[in-house]
Subunit: 198 residues, 2 copies
């Protein structure tokens, strides 16, 4: 029905996260029907990104500068490193506007099931950046509240135990706007344990 | 946080149907992190499509051949033309495998609200293809069961009234797999009116 070029485009689009075969077909059709408004700018943006964007050699962020704009920003607090699993987590924290230190992207978490060990993550790079003796005062472990995320946090806390650097993790509790009725027991129990005087 | 090239890519992806700002960000990240597996093939597929795919001059389908593979297929019944709003509708009918005639893509439907009149649609092309006297036996109006779709169907039926060509429309009724309980009154009423002896 549709030509081979269209089918190939749909297949590649369908592999993107958040797109399935049906939405990939709609996206392909939209691109082909709005050639000047959609297809041409998308090709140009992808080519520019392919040419210029790379992993920051310091922290693992994706940026067109290297070191990235965050690592190069003299206004950021260089005594704090926030460890995240993926670049997407770094972006999410930046959107919050609540953090002004540096980051370190591990590139995943330890996982016995998926066969991911310490050497598969950028833990060596993190330890090198912290250094001995260290100018870093605090490492914040901003890893997911999953079993693998917490295993990785424990592992890193162990590795940093004698470095003289403070190691912290994100608070667990009721999400802002969250209704208690809809929260799982684990979150409620964590929020209760970490309750604070007002 | 993310470089200008990444932000531009996210903005363009977010305009595609089915993608919002959040899924566009995830898609961009996936593309940039899997450069060889995702980004490079997507650029190549988009460039091939931009270069080769065009509207079929006969029916308005999108294809890399012109006339398209459907119009050029000698096995298809050239005495029947199925009129659809958009290329997506043509593809949906082709997936059903239930139709073996030719198509005609109008490029939309009449809409007083959106200011779309007969000259904004490819009605002239349809009438030329049908011709007088016509070798076409039947025109199937496969337009949406919306107010605008049905207005357009009425308009086309009027224009074809004296052409000697049979004009039909898709049956309305209970969708296959549909539970009566979840159907709207209009569908139930149409299904009841068009009930068939078994």
């Amino acid at each position: 029905m549709a030509g081979r070029e269209i089918e190939q485009l749909i297949q590649i689009l369908a592999k993107l996260p958040g797109l399935g075969p049906r939405s990939a077909r709609r996206a392909a059709l939209d691109l082909l029907q709005k050639r000047e408004a959609r297809l041409v700018p998308l090709i140009a943006a992808l080519e520019r990104a392919a040419e210029r964007v790379a992993l920051c050699r310091e922290c693992g962020n994706l940026d067109s500068e290297n070191p990235c704009a965050l690592c190069a920003d003299p206004a950021r607090d260089r005594k704090t490193i926030c460890v995240v699993e993926e670049v997407a987590d770094l972006w999410a924290l930046e959107r919050s506007g609540a953090y002004r230190g540096l980051y370190h992207v591990l590139g995943g978490v330890l996982s016995a099931l998926d066969g991911i060990g310490p050497t598969d993550l950028d833990i060596g790079g993190l330890l090198r950046r912290i250094g001995v003796p260290s100018h870093v005062k605090e490492v914040i472990l901003a890893l997911g509240a999953t079993v693998d995320g917490q295993t990785t946090a424990h592992y890193l806390a162990d590795r940093l135990a004698h470095s003289g650097v403070a190691v912290s993790r994100l608070a667990q509790g009721v999400p802002v706007g969250g209704e208690l009725d809809y929260l799982d027991e684990g979150t409620l129990s964590a929020a209760l344990k970490a309750r604070q005087l007002v």
